[in-house]
Amino acid sequence: MSREPSQQNRDSSSNSDRTNRRTVLKTVGAGAAVTSIAGCLGGSGGTGGTIKIGHIMPVETDNGLGSERSAQLAVDQLNENGGILDNDVELVTADSAAQPSEAHSAVTEMINRENIQMLVGTVVSEVALSLADLVAENDLPFLITGAASPRIFAENHAQNYDQFKSIFRPGPVNSIKQAEYLAQYGQFLSEEHGWDTMAVVSEDAAWTQDITDMTASLLEESGIDVAVNERVALDTNDWTPILDQVESSGAQTMIGALSHIPITGMTSSWSRNEYPFSLDGVMIAAQSPQFWSDTQGTAEYLSTATSAADGFADITPKTSEVMDAYQSEYDSRPTTPTFVGFITHDAINLYAEAVERAGTANHREDIDSIVEELQATDFEGSYGQIQFQGPDDEYPNDVYPGEGPGDEFAPFTITQWQAAEDGNGIGDTDGTKRCVWPETYQNGDHQTPSWM
């Protein structure tokens, strides 16, 4: 994968004053044109003084709300520091309800009525996929934060880069990469605990196909017996048969890939019945800082993949900055930014830097400059060092995944729910998260369930 260092842009801020004045003049004119074309109301709908950032997320989920708050935080911080290109920044946020149709309507309105200049968001891959055409048609910079499907880039950019050039994904790494890393994590567990048998259980959804296909075979290749490789129905309520099956297979861990199926029930029945295996994998609900209280503490020993270690390890110096800023602002659920919040915070900031360098935020007039600068991104964010893959790479505009999970580029982390010392856990609980893998960011050992 080719990397394109972007030192040439580092100095662009030195002449920002001149650039800004010119930009303001230019964009006022363009704003008027856009307004009349779109039949929109209001003079400031363009770029005449406010840059509007659209945010689309299922805000009733912890990840979505964490992202929305982090986006607001990023916008507030930008405004304190003079905004973007001397314009005030405004966050326009909408609830996708995790539904492509809702998201499509909301983003259409954001584009036509609010005249947003950039869109950030969505943890839901189907939403990201369904927005691609709409966003591309409007040349709107769209920074995807959370959704991990490789299809977004494989089906769009790889076919017609020019059409979809305005769509980027700052993070996380795509699900193929995640599947690969998950297998590496399995090997780590095997070395750590001497485990030789594992179960892979994925919910029967498109996003987990890579885990069913790749993770299992990679584990096999490294000499681990994958005794179970099951896909379970999305409306699974009763976990007993699956847990029993894993138990009788002799697996020492069940690597799950579970997002749509609520796993609180599974977790508590795993823990309360003391099923003799460990629970690992990609468990979206377990990423929430409130998962410990949701499961009444039965989450202990459960590990999940997540970016930025959900803020519980210092991935970069900025990780704790964002975490602290968030926690001084918000103390209700979710009590941490969630992994999406970190990526969203980074996305807004890297966008700000890119348009500063481009000297324009006017995507309708000058999307090429904006894309060029986004492409040149080399941004130290709160969850990693963010660069994008080039137009000729396999996944153009997708985040550069680095050489391995512990790389400084878009690191992939596993956190485990563990008992907190002195009852000093998240919220008022006894539980906390520790980063157990990769070793670069590790601040706790992977623990096997006490009953194993």
Binding site: Q99, P100, S130, S149, W207
Partner: protein, 336 residues
């Protein structure tokens, strides 16, 4: 239909209205004309609502499709999105798996055919029996179809859906007319059917099926015909929805919630009237996407369902028949 009711006086128009709308007074004719004219000129007076109105037009098609069978005969379908969703998925699966450049003149008829086939699977076993059986089968039908989309995720894209469908247009004005005109045409056809003897028999089935049967009419045949019309309508709407969004996912076109929204629209607008559900779709979508958003994304749904409940208890006939009769009796007022 013409937008010149208000300047009428021509015998043709008078005969038409008498035959199909009962004996409307001139206020009613005028308000219907104004409503139609308003719809046709939306880009000039409500430009920022074009997207919402376009969406409402498609939902109006669905609500009419529901209404011609369920609203008329009182055989309540809780799974009509299986028909529209089946059509949308047919378009998607063809484009996604067979040929990405397949022309609409091939996918469109096949999608409608799919809606008919799915519809007949619902209808044949149940329509000769009483209402609840039909409701249960439609409810299960939509759940099964949703499940099948996941089971055959290889072809349907599972929950991620199919993005290969081409979007109709990004020009909102064009989008609006692309949805409005078919909706009005379907509406015209279904209003004619609804006001004809067929429609009267269907409504009579809804009121007292035994009585109609004892007068020697084969009610099952009429129900099947109504269902066929419904399926065709749903097929057209479903294929349109696929091209409206340019992508198809279970939650967008298929899940049972979509079916219940159709029921809600018809209830608000006025069941068994065809024209009512058209208006109902606009009221519902505007409430959902514009007005009730003040209650937040969950709160608006709560408010919506409570509003529908209010209609069921206090204004069973729906808002438009109510307004229509008010205009008819007092004179004055506006809207359809």
């Amino acid at each position: 239909m013409s937008n010149e009711y208000d300047r009428s006086g021509e015998p043709v128009v008078q005969r038409f209205t008498r035959e199909f709308l009962g004996e409307p007074n001139r206020y009613q004719i005028a308000s219907a004309g104004v409503a139609l004219l308003a719809l046709l000129t939306v880009p000039f007076w409500a430009g920022q609502y074009l997207y919402v109105f376009a969406l409402a037009s498609i939902w109006a098609i669905f609500a009419m499709g529901w209404d011609i069978i369920s609203g008329h005969t009182n055989y309540i379908s809780f799974g009509h999105s299986a028909l529209s969703g089946g059509a949308a998925y047919t378009t998607g699966v063809l484009v996604h798996n067979v040929n990405p450049d397949m022309a609409m003149y091939i996918t469109f008829p096949l999608s409608i055919l799919a809606a008919i086939v799915i519809g007949l699977l619902f209808a044949v076993p149940t329509l000769r029996l009483e209402g609840p059986y039909f409701s249960l089968i439609t409810l299960l039908g939509v759940l099964v179809l949703t499940q099948l989309v996941y089971i055959y995720g290889e072809y349907t894209g599972g929950e991620l859906g199919i993005t290969a469908v081409s979007t109709l247009t990004y020009n909102l004005t064009n989008l609006y007319y692309y949805t409005l005109i078919p909706m009005l045409l379907i509406g015209a056809v279904l209003v004619v059917v609804s006001q004809s003897n067929i429609g009267r028999i269907l409504r009579a089935i809804g009121e007292n099926e035994a009585a109609i049967e004892s007068s020697g009419i084969d009610t099952t045949r009429f129900k099947l015909w109504a269902f066929l019309m419904s399926a065709i309508t749903m097929g057209i709407g479903g294929a349109m929805l696929a091209h409206f969004y340019g992508n198809i996912t279970p939650s967008t076109v298929l899940v049972v919630d979509r079916s219940l929204e159709m029921v809600a629209i018809a209830v608000i607008g006025g069941m068994g009237t065809i024209a009512g559900p058209i208006g109902g779709a606009f009221v519902f979508i505007i409430l959902r996407d514009e007005v009730l958003t003040v209650f937040g994304s969950t709160g608006r749904w709560l408010a919506l369902w409570l509003i529908v409940l209010f209609f069921l208890v206090f204004l069973r006939d729906g808002i438009f028949p109510f307004i229509w009769s008010r205009i008819g009796s007092i004179g004055g007022g506006r809207d359809e």
